[in-house]
């Protein structure tokens, strides 16, 4: 078991592909969580207003 730990030809392409995938998926997850936080705050504010 050596895989990508051992130096190999074109490994920089492999790391670039995985790095950009992490960036894309990570960015999307951050967007999804931020979207939820916004929706949650909006709903709480409106529910509080309705309770008044």
């Amino acid at each position: 078991m050596t895989g990508v730990i051992e130096p190999g030809e074109y490994l920089e392409f492999v790391w670039a592909a995985y790095g950009l995938t992490v960036l894309g998926v990570g960015g999307l997850i951050a967007f999804i969580l931020a979207e939820r936080a916004l929706a949650s705050r909006h709903l709480k504010r409106e529910e509080d207003e309705a309770d008044k």
């Binding site: 078991m1 990508v4 392409f13 592909a17 950009l20 999804i32 929706a39 207003e49």
Partner: protein, 242 residues
Amino acid sequence: MISYLANPKRFEAFARIAIPVCGGLALLLIAAGLWFGLLDSPPDRYQGDTIRIMYVHVPAAWLGLGLYLAMAVASFVYFIWRHNLADVAATALAPVGAVFAAICLVTGAIWGKPTWTVWWVWDARLTSMLIQFLLFLGYIALRAAIEDERLAARSAAILAMVGLVNLPIVRFSVEWWDGLLHQGATVFRADGPAIHGSQLLPLMIMVFGFTFLAGWMVLYRMRSAIMSRKAGNLQRIREAKA
């Protein structure tokens, strides 16, 4: 199943269980897939270590197509039966599908450079996949551009259904056109997969891992959208009273 989940309360109960299950399975499978794909599987005889790009490129490509199909089906359900939850699903699917299609295109270009010596060629597979990505962007842009919610939903649903035409072109382009730089099908073939078991295992683990991740993302977004619509309705009632 679709009509059962069309009830918002049933969907809420389903999502409460499905979201953590999908998230947990995605984490486990992707961790296992990375271990097998990056460390345990051997380099390819011809492509060397660059074959490891396949373990993110292929799942992203399949999801780019699968999520579009799901978006078109949800759009169809909304268009015919006017069910709001189907529209919520289609809207939730679009950015997730766009990101996976983008990952497919970018990782494909990175894989193409050492393999074909070029980042990009305008062959049928690459071009039709780019169109697939643009269809997702078109859907998102169309929804954002029209202020009337119902008109936006209907217009976007039509675009999603029309865009279905591109799916078989992406899928069968490698069979319909000769002399493409992109390789032909290697997993779904009449005579069985054409790749070694040591490569097929991490590939399939990553495919399932990415699928559960996309499931988590879509269900999570759907719940956020439902909360947002609920807040919007309360706001409209409050403003009407004032």
